[in-house]
């Protein structure tokens, strides 16, 4: 059991999201940065399917009555265990009676705390991910608050910490390049509109959350209207409403939408969006289907590398 002393700014339970309910209007939800979640799970000795905490901009303060084994990845929230600094992108033992605290994000936006055994909230439609708008998943469908008790499965405790080699830790910079595959509705934009989208930098505005990121920059021109007969959206869809400003959809994005979508950010690059903050600059760079699939292959190879490193340490 783990007790929440201070929930931080916006902390929710997330796993890799729900599959199979978008036809019913239920978003996939799940971690905004699936890479950081997955690495945290693997370092903590979990399968990739376990649920962890996603903390946003300012992290939580937690107390542990019983020993646990944990890993933190993603934004650097300057974690401390009983006052001692803990390295980001590493796993560590939490002795009974410890306090684990996080501060504001010194780099990045979202940090993931995985605990061995996973956070055992009930699954709702096949996932433990919190979807705040419909109040489902996680802890009663809401963000954490002080006094909450997180149900944990008993840890097997490998008792050997592991850290990601520094060269494998992603650097979060204020200049971000997101690879996109053009479409599905790139034909509804003028050649200049597409050149603007690919040539200009777009600023992340304060209107950003798990649903989507509203960006600001040069106006993207449509051939005529911005509206289409509503069709399906997915995380990474880049909608351009009549304002000409792109909106990149996130994990909690609604399942359908009525604005033309100029392009789709490829899955492996969504982690860069998840770690961006208001004021950061985004550059869109087009890639082919082959390049996108290759990036996905590399993402999975990276996970296998970590799995292989962790396996010998298991009890």
């Amino acid at each position: 059991m783990c007790t929440v002393l201070d929930p931080g700014m916006l902390t929710t339970v997330q796993d890799l999201g729900r599959t199979g309910y978008r036809a019913y209007g239920v978003p996939s939800s799940g971690a905004m940065d699936r890479m950081a979640l997955t690495v945290a799970n693997l370092l903590a000795g979990n399968t990739t399917a376990e649920a962890a905490l996603e903390m946003t901009l300012r992290g939580a303060r937690l107390s542990f009555a019983r020993p646990a084994f944990a890993a933190i990845c993603g934004a650097d929230m300057q974690a401390r265990l009983n006052g001692e600094r803990i390295a980001n992108w590493s796993s560590f033992v939490i002795p009974a009676g410890s306090e684990l605290s996080f501060d504001h994000a010194a780099s990045g936006c979202r940090a993931y705390l995985a605990l061995q055994g996973g956070i055992q909230v009930p699954t709702v439609m096949g996932s433990r991910s919190t979807y705040l708008r419909a109040q489902i998943g996680g802890l009663d469908g809401r963000m954490l608050r002080a006094g909450d008790e997180l149900p944990l499965r008993e840890a097997m405790l490998p008792r050997q910490s592991l850290a990601l080699p520094p060269e494998m830790i992603p650097a979060y910079t204020p200049d971000i390049t997101l690879r996109v595959m053009m479409g599905p509705q790139d034909k509804l934009f003028t050649a200049e509109g597409i050149a603007t989208f690919l040539g200009q930098a777009y600023k992340v505005t304060h209107r950003n959350d798990r649903m989507g990121y509203v960006l600001e920059g040069a106006k993207i021109a449509h051939t005529s209207a911005a509206d289409i007969v509503s069709d399906a959206l997915c995380p990474g869809s880049v909608q351009v409403p009549g304002s000409g400003m792109p909106i990149v959809m996130g994990s909690d994005c609604q399942t359908t939408g009525g604005y033309a979508k100029i392009a789709t950010v490829i899955g492996p690059d969504l982690m860069c969006l998840a770690q961006s903050k208001a004021g950061d600059n985004i550059h869109f760079h087009t890639c082919t289907d082959d390049e996108a699939v290759q990036a996905l292959r590399e993402e999975h190879a990276f996970y296998r590398y970590i799995e292989d490193a962790v396996r010998p340490l298991r009890n």
Binding site: T19, G20, Y21, R22, A23, Y24, G25, V26, P122, V124, M125, R133, A134, Q135, I136, M181, M182, G183, P184, Q185, I228, V229, S230, D231, A232, C234, G236, S237, Q254, T255, T256, K261, T264, V265, I266, G267, D289, A292, V293, A295, L296, R297, H300
Partner: protein, 254 residues
């Protein structure tokens, strides 16, 4: 008769593609969408993760590490080539939605009536007269985008949306009618409320209906509303579902 009615397939990132049948809201186009969606769901093709049918297209989410895009497209094109062209051969159900109209349940019933030069009773009769096609679900979990409302009920949205609309509220926005599955803000004119739960996330069957089904509203009294609500919360209520008769229901979809 069969024909290939897929208009185009579009890329939507490395893990999805969009299969389009047309550019308009049309019951015949939507019937093809649901026909292909059903086939793809039943085919259990390797690598397909999720099928999301909408008004006039389907999103197919797949794992590109298991299934190559070009092979999947070929497979979908083959399925599309053998669709049944007689578009009304829908296989869905008609789910009866009991609704208490007017009063506290439907504060805008009188407005809708006045706006269309009807009596409140005539609004209720028109709203319950024919089944409505569930073109798709979206906006919030279980929210149905319906076609088939009488053109005599068309009413503009509220100028100032309400902050809180109770779950089950039945409303009209322009030519559309719909039901709010969960409490949410919204600008639709509310004419009634159903005691049924459209979204039960913890149930093995979280949704009352699926895209491609039909709904038919049925007027109930406030006493019946209370009785059904009690059965629903006790988990004893079984919604009335009719099979669509051969040749399709007697409706106009848009």
């Amino acid at each position: 008769m069969t024909a290939n009615m897929i208009a185009r397939m579009l890329d939507c990132g490395e893990q999805a593609l969009i299969v389009e049948f047309g550019d308009s809201i049309d019951p015949a186009i939507n019937a093809r969408v649901h026909q292909l969606a059903r086939r793809l769901n039943e085919s259990a093709s390797t690598g397909i993760l999720e099928i999301i049918p909408t008004y006039r297209s389907i999103m197919v989410r797949f794992d590109p590490l298991v299934q190559r895009r070009e092979d999947l497209k070929k497979e979908i094109a083959e399925q599309g080539a053998s669709l049944d062209e007689s578009s009304t051969s829908v296989q869905g159900n008609i789910t009866l939605i009991p609704v208490a109209y007017g009063g506290e349940f439907g504060p805008d019933l009188d407005f809708v009536a006045n706006h269309n030069g009807l009596s409140p009773q005539e609004v209720i009769e028109l709203h319950t007269a024919t089944p409505c096609l569930v073109y798709m679900l979206g906006f919030t979990p279980g929210f149905p985008y319906l076609g088939g409302m009488s053109p005599r009920l068309v009413t503009p949205r509220l100028e100032q949306p309400r902050q809180r609309i109770p779950a089950g509220s039945v409303g009209i926005a322009g030519a559309q009618t719909g039901i709010y599955p969960i409490e949410s803000p919204g600008g639709w004119r509310l004419i009634g409320r159903t005691p049924l739960t459209l979204f039960s996330p913890r149930s093995p069957q979280p949704f009352l209906f699926a895209a491609g089904d039909y709904l038919q509203f049925a007027a109930i009294t406030s006493e019946e509303f209370a009785a059904i609500a009690k059965e629903v919360s006790a988990g004893l209520y079984t919604p009335q579902v009719r099979q669509i008769p051969q040749g399709g229901p007697d409706v106009h979809g848009a």
